[in-house]
């Protein structure tokens, strides 16, 4: 079982609020990823990092930003949440196969 954690698991928030989704892993993996997944749909890569101070945008354009100050921590921030940001956000890390966290389900009203 991979040790990768995401908080919060569920978040309901109003439009315009700033939010940060937390992701941490205890496996010492250099590579970490954020995916966005709508119900019943495929996963879309929105951000990834290959190590500390390394961040890149993924295949799907996103208004979110990420940071990687520590190996184990890869938070995702939305400066001003909108209803179109409603989705599930999955964090993963890898040294080989990717291991996924439980996800954060975000609802923006």
């Amino acid at each position: 079982e991979a040790d990768i954690y995401q908080t919060p698991r569920y978040l309901v928030i109003g439009t315009g609020k700033k939010i940060t989704l937390e992701c941490s892993q205890t496996m010492g993996h250099d590579k970490m990823y954020w995916y966005q997944q709508d119900p019943g749909m495929e996963l879309h890569l929105i951000h990834y990092s290959y190590g500390v101070n390394s961040t890149e945008k993924g295949d799907l354009s996103s208004e979110s930003t990420v940071s990687r100050i520590r190996t184990e921590h890869f938070p995702l921030t939305l400066e001003s949440a909108r209803p179109s940001h409603t989705s599930q956000y999955l964090c993963a890390s890898s040294e080989g196969p990717q291991y996924f966290g439980p996800g954060t389900r975000l609802l923006v009203l």
């Binding site: 990823y33 495929e42 996963l43 290959y50 196969p97 990717q98 996924f100």
Partner: protein
Amino acid sequence: AQSVSQHNHHVILSEAASLELGCNYSYGGTVNLFWYVQYPGQHLQLLLKYFSGDPLVKGIKGFEAEFIKSKFSFNLRKPSVQWSDTAEYFCAGRFGNEKLTFGTGTRLTIIP
């Protein structure tokens, strides 16, 4: 561009039936291929992976997949499904870099 296709969007089977879920990819170079499963309310879990070597790979819970390079396929199989196999199954590929490309997923429903 690289892509992964899963043509079965929703499969419904009775318990003890045999299962085969299709996965095709488009890429001409070396690939790493994966099947992930997402049980209701749970996070994505790795079922099995292919990096190199024996094209028939065995995963957890009795699943296996066969890499057929000539067909660009990596179909998932299980000889006898159980009700607990009800889940969403995602095929994914890694094509020459560290990023994963996912298919759209196949929802599997097993009828007791």
